[in-house]
């Protein structure tokens, strides 16, 4: 069973605001899920590497495009600014990031 404090800590890391009722509900549900995934501890994984790139054909690595800046699409930029909840002069406005 994970604790209430652990749930509160995770919610804080994930920046999700939860009510007291939700904290308890998720505590129960996450505990059940975490119990279930404990099954993975049955396996001896000595020497097995973590899966990284899928569909990687033998010898080939991920192709990166050349590093140069594409011309900006002003129409797209305008659409994106339009979607922002709070904007000013072509910038997105946010609450202050720094503490006083």
């Amino acid at each position: 069973m994970i604790t209430k404090q652990e749930v509160e800590h995770i919610a804080k890391l994930a920046r999700i605001g939860l009510t007291e009722k939700e904290i308890e509900k998720f505590r129960r549900e996450l505990s059940a899920i975490l119990d279930y995934v404990k099954k993975l501890n049955e396996l001896d994984l000595g020497g097995v590497e973590a899966a990284s790139y899928l569909s990687q054909r033998k010898g080939k690595t991920r192709e990166m495009r050349e590093d140069w800046a594409e011309k900006e699409d002003l129409k797209r930029v305008a659409q994106m600014i339009k979607a922002a909840p709070d904007k000013e002069k072509g910038y997105i406005r946010v609450k202050t990031v720094f503490e006083n």
């Binding site: 999700i16 899920i33 995934v37 993975l40 994984l45 097995v48 899966a51 990166m64």
Partner: protein
């Protein structure tokens, strides 16, 4: 109405011959949506005006005698986590309830280049998380075969729209079974392509090493046509790969096939009637001369827990962008942290929160090795299971799901029981393989799906096997 029953090939032939216009075709589907969607609720947005405008352009091309692209005038439905510029794209979530897409997904660009007609956006489990479409923040979609039952998920709206004849075909997305399972529940055909075969640019990301966009249609030939249209390397998706096999049309004799049936997929938990139907379907391959072997995928029992840890971890990273700053729901609060907590707290549904938190936990300091890293190492073992199997066989046949479509509300109280719906489909995404689900029978009046899994980039083989099976059983 006859127009609602046409295949893509038939529709194209009819348009070229002048038997009907693209406008008439689009209207036939829009009409059917008006008639049926009150009861089924597959659509979140119906884009009637733009669909008719697209259809009219096709008719103008026909009247000028211009050559028509493969999908010209074909009415399609698009899952609402794929961006279509200028149309709302909600991902089935309140946090994007009023978000308008500012660009077209690459697959949409490709469909538009082919002059396809987009009828609208279909319902889904919120952010594609779910197996029933009940997690949509707006309303659940119902199974056209039985309105008291779920259509499956997360591409429930897309599968239902095709099954009910409200679209000729549809696009869905699949991370752990979200194309195949609803296709199975609704009695239609669905393909999850090889990871990297189709660009994810413009697909609202859920789990980036699993997600793939794929077609849902009433038959395999239509699925193949759409897959041809949407696949391809995209500079905007660095995980997309140039498809190595150039000829998807090559016919392969089933008598030359070696078919694998994994013993771990036929244990308890599967509906006995479903098992009978699946085994009967597999026998048909045997009768046609294919060699059927029992194979073993020994790490099958670890696939669901490994899947949920890795997927949730990727989800926690991908959904961090929904923060009330750049777009979407934004709550007014005193400070920045407040904006985040409140916007996400109010805008995201329970299942989404659950997975974000599970992922955050699995990636957090002190737990990363025990959960995420461990699961990724198990993923390697699961991939190896399939690699070794494909040294012996051409395709692997399994049930798509352990049961037929369940009733609405039946699994909503227990998240774990919903997760187990993915038991046969999830391993495929862990390994990045292509898989097709097609109808192979019925149990208690509801469709059963047969899953055909292929090796990496072996869509050709599974589509060929699918067409072979379809030809034997036209009634499905």
């Amino acid at each position: 109405m006859k127009l609602n029953k046409l295949t893509i090939k038939q529709a194209r032939a009819g348009l070229i011959k002048g038997e009907f216009s693209a406008l008439e075709l689009a209207l036939a589907y829009l009409d059917r949506i008006k008639k049926l969607d009150q009861g089924i609720r597959a659509f979140l947005t119906v884009s009637e005006d733009s669909a008719l405008a697209q259809a009219k352009l096709v008719d103008e091309k026909i009247s000028r005698g211009e050559k028509l692209p493969a999908l010209a005038g074909i009415p399609l439905a698009i899952k609402d986590n794929i961006l279509v510029e200028g149309m709302k794209c909600t991902a089935g979530s309140k946090i994007l309830e009023n978000y308008t897409a500012s660009y077209d997904a690459t697959v949409i660009k490709k469909l538009k280049k082919q002059d396809a007609v987009i009828l609208g956006k279909t319902n889904l489990d919120e952010f594609a998380m779910g197996a029933s479409t009940e997690n949509s923040a707006f309303f659940p979609t119902r199974n056209p075969r039985d309105l008291a039952r779920v259509p499956g998920g997360s591409s429930g709206g897309s599968a239902a729209s095709v099954a009910a004849g409200m679209s000729m075909a549809a696009l869905g997305s699949d991370t752990g079974g979200s194309i195949r399972q609803p296709a199975s529940f609704c009695g239609v055909v669905g393909l999850k392509p090889t990871y990297g075969a189709v660009s994810r640019y413009g697909l609202i990301a859920m789990a980036s090493s699993f997600d793939q966009i794929g077609p849902i249609a009433r038959n395999v030939a239509d699925v193949r046509i759409i897959f041809e249209a949407i696949r391809g390397k995209d500079p905007l998706d660095s995980t997309s790969v140039k498809f190595p096999i150039s000829n998807l049309q090559r016919k392969i004799a089933i008598s030359k096939f070696k078919v694998g049936v994994p013993k771990e997929y036929f244990i308890e938990g599967i509906d006995k009637e479903v098992e009978k139907v699946i085994r009967r379907a597999i026998k048909k391959f045997e009768k046609a001369g294919a060699r059927v072997f029992e194979i073993s995928l020994p790490h099958t029992q670890y696939t669901v827990p490994a899947y949920y840890i890795i997927v949730s971890s990727e989800i926690s990273a991908n959904l961090a962008r929904y923060d009330g700053i750049k777009y979407g729901l934004s709550e007014r609060e005193e400070d920045l942290t407040g904006v985040y907590l409140s916007s996400r707290g109010k805008g995201l549904g329970d299942e989404v929160k659950r997975r974000i938190m599970l992922g955050t936990y699995a990636l957090s300091a002190g737990y990363y090795d025990a959960y995420y890293l461990k699961a990724q190492r198990i993923r390697t073992l699961i991939k190896k299971d399939f690699e070794e199997a494909f040294e012996k066989v051409d395709i692997i046949l399994t049930p798509t799901t352990p049961t037929i479509a369940f009733k609405l509300g039946e699994k909503t109280q227990d998240p774990l029981s919903m997760y187990l719906c993915d038991i046969f489909t999830g391993p495929v995404n862990l390994a990045g393989l292509p898989a097709l689900s097609l109808p192979c029978g019925e149990v208690r009046g509801l469709p059963v799906g047969l899953q055909m899994i292929g090796n990496l980039f072996a869509e050709e083989k599974i589509l060929a096997a699918g067409e072979f099976f379809e030809a034997l059983n036209p009634e499905f």
